[in-house]
């Protein structure tokens, strides 16, 4: 109604030239007409159109307004569900199509109220709060589409989470009348409580043709691997109770059993275990003096003592999750939430999301008949493993169990991964909690390979205008047996490189690349001309390195192709006074960086430096004309988790007379700037990735009392 008044007040704009008193008159009249119109619409239009169209918008407040659909007795019933269904036989992949985002589109049927011929609803509860949460989460997600023609997956709004509240036959008929049902093709049903007395089937009993089932409590005999999705049984306590975060570690109790409906055979066995092992076990049951209802859900008792549930779960290292009538138990969710390691005893049970989650890292699965041995089995698990499992259990809950949204999104992601397997989430993405994701390293060059010597290496010389020194460097390097190619990166835009005839004659191909801008990062560009895996980055004034030293460096690189292998070593230090990192170029016992003025590394790192350098580090380096080597060291250490390798004791690189730490490096402002770089890069990386080591690589016989002429690398300078 507010809206209509607002509309009315806009009236004057339509008749601007009228006199004021007329205007008021018209405004009133117009408002009345408009009000009338809207009122008519409200009372007349809605009920009619709802009956006239089954697909009408759902944007309303009450489920009771959902259209009523009467299902005739004779309405067809779908087939029972084919156990041999797999994605390639029962799923129409053409509906999903090829799309650059590799994301399936999901359509949700609008809500309808299904009743049988005599008007009795097919479900005693109708839409549950959980299913409602699930559907709104999906409709809010990227998966959702409101365009039924573009959908790959269809989700009925018929709530089948709990089979107990359903009339099986009528529900099945309701599914079959869905406009896009088409033998259940590409339809997804969510069910958490399957089966009913007395047999408690382990999958939803509602006949459903080829529909996919996201079910809680599948057994290995009902679960169609790679087709169905095993989901958890949601515990409403997840939303209700906020448990304080507990660090992994030892707990007051070793094993705790909190379920109330445990079969007496098992209860007897648990009590026997309790007798044998005493205080380490805590066996809880329901409280006899409390009435049914939510209050009883939140309390547990043992010998007259009352415990708060689920809080008490946090007091135990392991928590028993035994099968009941059904295999899937909501207790599992509570146990995970409490960071207690679940001990799952439910033979043939398909664990929730087992297609992607590695339950071995978060739970212990014990066959039911081994219940009496539970204590011994659990005692044999190493402490650190228990702590790891506690952390993992809580993370699983947080990411995949905590809400209907989490459960729904995980289910859709699993199906999405099947349809676009080449874009599927990885094991690490699914299973590593963020702290592990943050601290763990998955090196992109993970295969242990020692590349053959024969392809050799490409020397990339960065130069500006020091031609004489450049030519000397080229002459020196060309003596190295494994040199495959020389690449001169000409960084001077104002001057052309010398004529071809003036260059030193070398036996390997020599190529000059001219750059567009004088940037330091040019030296790390992954030029197509670099055809070898190994790159030797070298400055145009490093003339002191001997051929033996360079060849040996290449040999060391072959043994460590995922590391920076270089000659001048440097160190980073924590300056306690200033509370920040400091750059150290003194001769120390430790090394954490090698300078790229002379270093071997894998061409892959060129690609990383150019395209994957985090933050604005590349620009910083080009702006300051400094620290490109530090940036490279950060990059490599961060992605591989490994320290660089310093080769040979060589100290002087530019001239025999130079001080060991030569030229530029001595300059005080230069040092300050490099310290600044380290601090800047550490903040961009969010961590200090550099690793400190105390070793360097020398030839096996270096300085050994052995004839020099028999050594492979005799000419290793010590200056």
């Amino acid at each position: 109604m507010c809206a209509s008044v607002k509309y009315g007040s806009r009236g004057p704009a339509l008749i601007p030239r009228m006199k004021t008193k007329h205007r008021i008159y018209y405004i009133t009249l117009f408002s009345v007409v408009l009000l009338g119109l809207i009122a008519t619409g409200m009372f007349q239009f809605w009920p009619h159109s709802i009956e006239s169209s089954a697909e009408w918008s759902l944007d309303r407040r009450s489920v009771h307004d959902a259209p009523l659909v009467r299902i005739p007795m004779s309405s067809p019933i779908p087939e029972r569900g084919d156990l041999s269904c797999r994605m390639h036989t029962c799923f129409d992949v053409y509906r999903c199509g090829y799309n650059p985002k590799n994301k399936i589109k999901v359509y949700i049927y609008p809500l309808q109220r299904f009743v049988d011929e005599v008007g009795v609803p097919i479900s005693s509860t109708g839409l549950s709060r959980e299913y409602n949460d699930l559907l709104s989460a999906i409709s809010d997600s990227d998966f959702y589409t409101d365009d039924v023609t573009r959908a790959c997956l269809f989700i009925p709004s018929i709530d089948v989470l709990n089979q107990n509240s359903l009339r099986v036959r009528e529900t099945a008929q309701a599914l079959a009348v869905l406009p896009r049902w088409d033998k259940g093709m590409n339809h997804l049903l969510f069910n958490m409580l399957p089966g009913g007395p007395p047999d408690y089937n382990t999958a939803l009993d509602v006949p459903r043709d080829r529909a996919l089932l996201a079910g809680g409590g599948f057994s290995t005999w009902t679960y169609r691997q790679g087709y169905d999705v095993s989901i958890p049984v949601y515990s409403p306590l997840s939303a209700e109770v906020d448990l304080p975060e507990r660090q992994p570690g030892p707990r007051r109790y070793f094993i705790l059993s909190s379920q109330t409906a445990i079969h007496r055979e098992y209860r007897v066995e648990l009590e026997r275990l309790k007798e044998e092992n005493g205080e380490a076990l805590l066996l809880l049951d329901k409280c006899s003096n409390l009435s049914q209802g939510l209050a009883s859900v939140r309390k547990r008792c043992c010998k007259g003592q009352v415990y708060d549930y689920p809080q008490i779960l946090q007091e135990s290292s392991f928590c028993v999750v035994l099968r009941g009538a059904r295999l899937g138990q909501a207790t599992l969710s509570d146990v995970l939430q409490a960071g207690c390691v679940p001990v799952i005893m439910a033979d043939s049970y398909i664990l929730p999301f087992s297609e992607v989650l590695d339950w071995k890292r978060a739970s212990v699965v014990i066959p039911e008949e081994k219940l009496p041995e539970m204590y011994t089995i659990l005692k044999s698990i190493p402490h650190r493993q228990v702590e790891e499992m506690q952390r993992q259990a809580h993370w699983f809950w947080e990411a995949y169990f905590s809400s209907m949204k989490a459960i729904g999104m995980t289910t859709l992601q699993i199906i999405n991964d099947r349809i676009y397997p080449y874009a599927a989430r990885t094991y690490e993405e699914w299973n590593n909690p963020s702290v592990v994701k943050w601290s763990s390293v998955n090196s992109p060059l993970f295969l242990p390979l020692i590349p053959p010597r024969s392809p050799g290496f490409t020397a990339v010389v960065l130069t500006y205008d020091r031609i004489e020194s450049l030519f000397r460097v080229i002459t020196e390097i060309s003596k190295v047996p494994s040199l495959a190619k020389l690449l001169v990166v000409w960084n001077n835009q104002n001057k052309s490189p010398p004529e071809e005839s003036l260059w030193p004659k070398v036996t390997v191909p020599l190529k000059v690349v001219r750059t567009k801008e004088n940037k330091l990062s040019n030296r790390f560009f992954p030029f197509d001309e670099i055809e070898t895996e190994a790159v030797l980055a070298i400055d145009d004034d490093i003339i002191m390195l001997t051929s033996d030293e360079l060849q040996f460096g290449y040999e060391v690189w072959r043994e460590f192709p995922d590391r920076l292998v270089g000659y001048p070593g440097r160190l980073h230090l924590w300056d306690h006074e200033m509370g920040k990192w400091k750059y150290e170029s003194e001769w120390t016992n430790e090394v954490s960086m090698v300078l790229t003025g002379a270093a071997f590394y894998h061409k892959y790192f060129n690609y990383l430096y150019t395209y994957k350098m985090p933050g604005d580090i590349k620009n910083w380096v080009d702006a300051h004309m400094n620290c490109e080597d530090i940036a490279m060291n950060f990059l490599v250490a961060n992605i591989t988790g490994k320290a660089p390798i310093k080769v040979t004791p060589r100290k002087k690189f530019k001239c025999p007379e130079c001080t060991a730490i030569d030229g530029l490096s001595l300059d005080q402002t230069h040092m300050v700037e490099r310290s600044e770089c380290i601090n800047k890069f550490a903040s961009v990386f969010g961590t200090m990735p550099l690793k400190v080591v105390e070793h360097r690589a020398d030839p096996v016989l270096y300085k050994d009392d052995f004839p020099e002429k028999l050594k492979s690398f005799p000419n290793i300078g010590s200056l």
């Binding site: 169209s53 407040r61 090829y98 549950s128 999906i138 409580l193 409906a261 043939s348 699965v365 242990p448």
Partner: protein, 739 residues
Amino acid sequence: MQAKKRYLISLLTGAFLVLLFYFGGGVPGPAATGSRSRHGYSRPEQPWPHFSDPLQHLSPWDHSDTEEYNVHISPRQKRDVNSSVYKGKRCRMQSCFDFSLCQRNGFKVYVYPQQKGEKISESYQNILSTIEGSRFYTSDPGQACLFVLSLDTLDRDQLSPQYVHNLKTKVQSLPLWNNGRNHLIFNLYSGTWPDYTEDLGFDIGQAMLAKASISTENFRPNFDVSIPLFSKEHPRTGGDRGYLKYNTIPPFRKYMLVFKGKRYLTGIGSDTRNALHHVHNAEDVVLLTTCKHGKDWQKHKDARCDKDNAEYDKYDYREMLHNSTFCLVPRGRRLGSFRFLEALQAACVPVMLSNGWELPFSEVIDWNTAAVIGDERLLLQIPSTVRSIHQDKILALRQQTQFLWEAYFSSVEKIVLTTLEIIQDRVLQQTSRSNLMWNSHPGGLFTLPQYSSYLGDFPFFYAKLGIKPNPKFTAVIHAVTPLVSQSQPILKLLVSVARSQYCAQIIVLWNCDKPLPAKHRWPATSVPIIVIEGENKVMSSRFQPYDSIISDAVLSLDEDTVLSTTEVDFAFTVWQSFPERIVGYPARSHFWDNNKERWGYTSKWTNDYSMVLTGAAIYHRYYHFLYTNFLPNSLKSMVDQLANCEDILMNFLVSAVTKLPPIKVTQKKQYKETMMAQSSRASRWADPDHFAQRQTCMNKFASWFGGMPLVHSQMRLDPVLFKDQVSILRKKYREIERL
């Protein structure tokens, strides 16, 4: 003006009435379009409404209805019902496998004795001898947990010459058959033209299948094992390494996607290959088929055949295999094909086009990390799919193909052992491998879960878990001479090792025939000294996984080793950077002796090395476990009998696991001299046979490993300032340089 006003009023009233009639009368609009637009207009971002109704909660707890169930049906009965109902095609471990057979003796495998007159194909013979040579083998059926037939079941294609007739009666007459319970049946080919069913042609009862080309429909999850199709020429042990020698950047090869193979024209499995020509572009996507196969191919020949055949002959299969980024692996008549293993070995990322094939070892291998799983129905999308795969992903996929090839597929032995380990994991449940152990280097065969269920206890996963090894070591000193004087080297050694800041404890392994010396004879040290009396006083006992070793690192020492505290400290800091390798002092090398056509061993000073002696070396304690539990008794007893070569065997083992050389660190001169001129009477190094034995050992070991696992290294790790011209006072490890 007035007229105008009146006119307007009547117009508005009229309009109002018309509208009223329109809505009130219930003329239905075009429902679908009306709703769409209205809907889109109102709240496009929230199509599922927020209901204000008090919706009922799902109550997931077992209530009165299930309580009754709990009282009446015994879970034991339920289990029995399950195991009696789920047989045949619905077999699972719970219903068709007798776990009790495995409880007493662990996971032992029995192979039926071979009967005279039974022909066994070479491939099956390889499978059987692998099992017989493995640590799982038992010759006593009473101890066995798993039974393997000596009847060749590999080829069940009736048209094949290898087909064994009357298998049904032969199997039924086996006294231990027990309807196939706890039996494992290997099969590569089943069914025949025209429908190629997956039936083996005899009743397998409750036996498990290790079968190639198995379909998801017939695959009984966690019961059967899908194995790869391998050829007769597939080596029994060792096997060639993967072809990937280095990671090229950018990772693209000459071709993007290739295939070369037969086209069946008609019948089962022919559709996909018949359609390949749609995707072939003769540039970077080269998919070639030939119609030539069988005798009467001309009869079925279609319009494309001549053109296809001509194109087919233009390309060399090997050349394409080695120069393509992706290799198409379409199904043949059967789901699996040789292409799969060929592509894997060639580091050509397999693009699977075989709907419904349960990929090899799918129970443990995450194939998304090494292959592209395509869908036959979406053949036309395959080129754009593979082109959309990012360079970094290609790099990872390619390396993973190599890891998987070498870990599980390169030999019959690996395929069989992987099959057995998968079944063992199911049987032992609690001590089974996690996904990470199977899918990352060094793979499941080298990662024994019996050692620990915690990944951080292994040397391989520190980086993946973001943790570091324990910063202490346990020294294990192998004592063989009685303690008579206070100047014996072992006492000096004890003192200098105990002085290391990283030393947690020292274990003296008393392998001397004389009784243990009194406690007070050992020097007083700040770390505990534990004396363990060797059980059989044999060489291998120095690599026993003693429970008292609590640190991750072990410093293994001979009693006559001379080592300073500084040297120990430095070696340990090096080991922390390479926890999966052996880090030690004196090194040795191997070489191929062309004249004698065998491996040679040298202790000469050379420019490279491939072993470091375990008389003074640091390595991860897991290798003790691996040495004791992974290596066969034949090798271990050889070492014990010779009282020699234990260090060579350890180096073989570690290099086979890591595929990398050990690391030599610098050592003081005097140590080397004592090593070189071993003159003490007791020293086994003085024995002239010693050297010849070591040569023999090497060749024996190499034959068991199926190749030479040792790798050469040309470098030695020294302290950063070693022999540097800086003041000695600045050097942390200055002792090493002093004589």
